[in-house]
Each structure stands twice: as structure tokens, then as C-alpha cells.
Amino acid sequence: MELIDVSYQYKKSNRQVLNQINMKLKHDQLNVVLGLNGAGKTTLFNIMAGSFKPTSGTVKEAFTHEQIAYQVQGVPFLNQLKGKDLVRLFIKTASQPFDPKSAVFANNMNKRERTLAERLWEQPLGQMSLGERRWLMVMAMCELDRKLYIFDEPTSGVDPDSRLNVLHKLESVALNPNRYVVMSTHTLQELEHVDCHIFLLHDGEVAFDGTYDELTESNKNPDEAFRQIVSL
């Protein structure tokens, strides 16, 4: 998927949120979009998903609605729903097979994931931590058979250990050559542990496009490296 000279401006606004940006999503890598609050990350995702039509420019290899899984921030669910109910909702509304008896609902679950899934299977969402709920949602989302996966801040408010679990899951989905996985985050340190490609949005443009190592080349602290780019 490639965005060519894509611009976007909201109606009744004179600010160009995205200004002729060019970016090509990577196969086999987790694509990460960074940026200050209001930098246009969610707008960019909406354009990728086809929810927003760019003011100008084109999206090459755009996907249809049915080929996309788009996880938005903070969708609340009924606290009384159990883990298995949540997974069922994701899987069955996507018309995919689901076995309510088996907590091992995802392919290639490691031992740790199996243990966690088994623990959460019968547990109501209200009794889960935020990290556990996020992890379960990401796991269920990743089970959907799609071409493009979009995760808007999937690790927001999640503890460091759960953050890594989520990221590793996304990384494993990205390894499939027929899929693109793109996410946004404000927690940069965690990216050190995953194979990712970073796009940093600033002032409506892609201010940085490269790997984590390239981002931290001049400054080992990713937050500082980020700050340097956005203050240029």
C-alpha cells in the first residue's frame, strides 16, 4: 500500500492536516506511525481505511472495507462480557469459525499466551486489567483474515509487559507477506524490541521515515530523538 502526494483538510478548517505526504507501507515489518497529538495519525488511518477521501493525491493498492481490520481507541464493552464472549464477537461477526470451548483461539499461541488466554476465557471484562482487555482484543483482531490491519494506539494505558505482548503479536501478524500491519503509539521505547518501520508525522508531512536504529542513530533515547525531529 502506498500513499502518493496525499493531502487532507477538514471542512471548516484552514489547516492542512496532511500535506502531500508520500509513504509506502512495508511488508514483513510492523509499520508504526508516530507524531504529536493532533499530528494527523488517525486522519491518516482513516484515509488508509477508505473512511476519508484524500483532498488530493492517491492511495495505491487500496483495500476494500472487507479486507481491513481497524481497531479504534477506547471502544467500551459491557463489563459482564466474558473473555470468550469478546473473542466470539470479533470472530463470528467476521463470519469465521469459533469454538467456545477452546481458549486457544489463535494460531501459533505460545505457552505464555495460552496460559493468559485460558485465564481470561471465563473472566468478565470488568475484572480484567486494561492491559489484559487490550491484549485479548488485539489477539482476536489478529485472528481475522484481512489484508490490512490498523491499530490506533493499541498499547495506550497498558503496562510494559502487556505492551510487549501486544507488540509481539502484531509483529507476528506482520510477518505474513500478504498482510500489512500499521499502528500508532506514543511510547517509543517499546519499539526497540520489535522489527518495525517508523513514519513520523509532523506539520502535515512525514518528517522521518526509517527503522528504529535509524531514528536513534544520533540520540539513543528515542524520546529525545523524536523531540529533535519535531523541534526542527
Binding site: A49, F52, H65, Y70, V75, R88, K92, A94, S95
Partner: protein, 245 residues
């Protein structure tokens, strides 16, 4: 259908655990009924008159279920990003809307049975007739009225601000019905409460007041409501107008 069923199950659970839904549809009408008709214990009205009075409360139940429990709830789902996320997962928004409508229709049917059973037992009316007439009203009016209010989902406000506004609106709409007479009134078209009350009158009188003109007006009104709803849901934007998600 399978997708709609999954959403139906989810929304049924929400209705079960969300006591406010039941509060609006069963308890509020019951409370107001007893406040207004406590004299029936000592001075019971004749049956036909009782049914007519009770039908106003049925109308309220249908209206509140269509406006608050369905249209406003769909608005909240859009505002919180549920609509957007699951329309991608399910491939369309239709199954979510259908599931929600069906769950609320079920809640309304159960509420109608509970309300009428309590009223019938307390005032020695025939429960089967009351329940039958109440359910017939639900079947005839809930879907068109819920669809008519689909425009609520497209409003550019936050969820917190529209719930009280529309709770008040339902009461105003019902109040306005009492001041109108005649099927020729164009207000029948723009006030769904009027439409429900008129259908309720026909149902209560077992269609004795039936004349073709009235039936035509009501049928055309229902059709217009349905068309408005289908068109609105087709055009509706999944993005919240007030919140980012």
C-alpha cells in the same frame, strides 16, 4: 443473518445488564400510570375506556424504545467508535443496526407483557386482550418509528448532551398529540407520537373506527418513515461528528 444474530446477543446482554433500558420502558410508564390512574382501584372505568387510557402508555413505551433505546443508543455506539470498528469487522453497518433493532424489539415485547400483566392483574382486566393489543401496536409501529428517528445517529453532538434532550423530546411529542384532531393533519407525518397514538386507537377499538382513508394515511406515514430510515442509514457517516475515534 449470522452476524446480526451475534450483535443481537451482545445487545440483549447489554439490555439485560443495563437497568436504565428497563427503567425507561417498564418502570417509568408503570409509575406514571399509577400516579394518573390510582382512582381506578376505587372507581374502575369500563373496559374500552380503560384500554384507551392504557394505550397512551403503550405509545410512550414504543416511542421511548425507538428514540432512547434504539436511535440514541446507535448514536452512542457511533460516538464511541463501536460502529466504525465493527462495520469493518462485519463488512457492513447493516448487521449492527439490525441486531440493535431486534434486541430492543425483544425488550419492548417483554416490557409490554410485564406492563400489561401487572395492570391487568391489579385492575381486573383481561391480561390476554391487553397483551395482545399491546403487542399488535408494537408490531405495527416500532420499526417505522425507530427508522424515522435514524437521523439522530447523524447529529454532530456528544452522546452526553443528546440523551437528556431526547428524553425530554419524547415527552413533548406525546404531549403534542393530545392537542391534535383529524387524520388530515400534516402533523401526523412529522410527529411519530401522533402516528403511534392513532394506530393505538385503531388497535384498541379492534379497528371498529377503521375507515380506508385513515388506514391509507397511516400506511403512507409508515412507509415514509421506513424510507427515511433506510435512506439515512445508507448515507450515514461512521465517523463521530464530535469525538475523534
Amino acid at each position: 443473518m449470522r452476524k446480526s444474530y451475534e450483535f443481537f446477543i451482545l445487545f440483549i446482554k447489554e439490555n439485560y445488564y443495563n437497568k436504565m433500558a428497563l427503567f425507561w420502558v417498564v418502570f417509568i410508564p408503570l409509575i406514571f400510570f399509577f400516579i394518573n390512574h390510582s382512582n381506578w382501584f376505587t372507581n374502575p372505568p369500563e373496559h374500552q375506556q380503560a384500554y384507551l387510557q392504557i394505550s397512551v402508555f403503550w405509545s410512550f413505551m414504543v416511542l421511548i424504545s425507538a428514540v432512547i433505546n434504539t436511535a440514541v443508543e446507535l448514536f452512542t455506539l457511533r460516538d464511541r467508535g463501536f460502529f466504525k470498528m465493527f462495520s469493518f469487522i462485519a463488512g457492513s453497518k447493516g448487521s449492527i443496526i439490525f441486531g440493535k433493532g431486534l434486541a430492543n424489539l425483544s425488550l419492548l415485547i417483554i416490557s409490554m407483557v410485564v406492563f400489561n400483566t401487572i395492570v391487568a392483574l391489579l385492575f381486573q382486566l383481561n391480561p390476554l386482550i391487553l397483551i395482545g393489543k399491546g403487542l399488535l401496536l408494537v408490531v405495527l409501529t416500532f420499526i417505522p418509528v425507530a427508522l424515522f428517528f435514524s437521523w439522530i445517529v447523524a447529529l454532530p453532538f456528544k452522546a452526553e448532551s443528546i440523551v437528556p434532550a431526547f428524553s425530554l423530546l419524547t415527552i413533548i411529542l406525546l404531549y403534542m398529540t393530545s392537542s391534535l384532531t383529524g387524520f388530515e393533519s400534516f402533523l401526523l407525518l412529522i410527529n411519530p407520537a401522533e402516528f403511534i397514538v392513532r394506530v393505538a386507537e385503531l388497535v384498541v377499538t379492534s379497528f371498529e373506527a377503521f375507515i380506508y382513508v385513515n388506514l391509507t394515511v397511516l400506511s403512507v406515514t409508515a412507509l415514509i418513515y421506513i424510507m427515511i430510515g433506510l435512506l439515512t442509514f445508507k448515507l450515514i457517516n461512521l465517523e463521530s461528528k464530535a469525538s475523534r475515534n
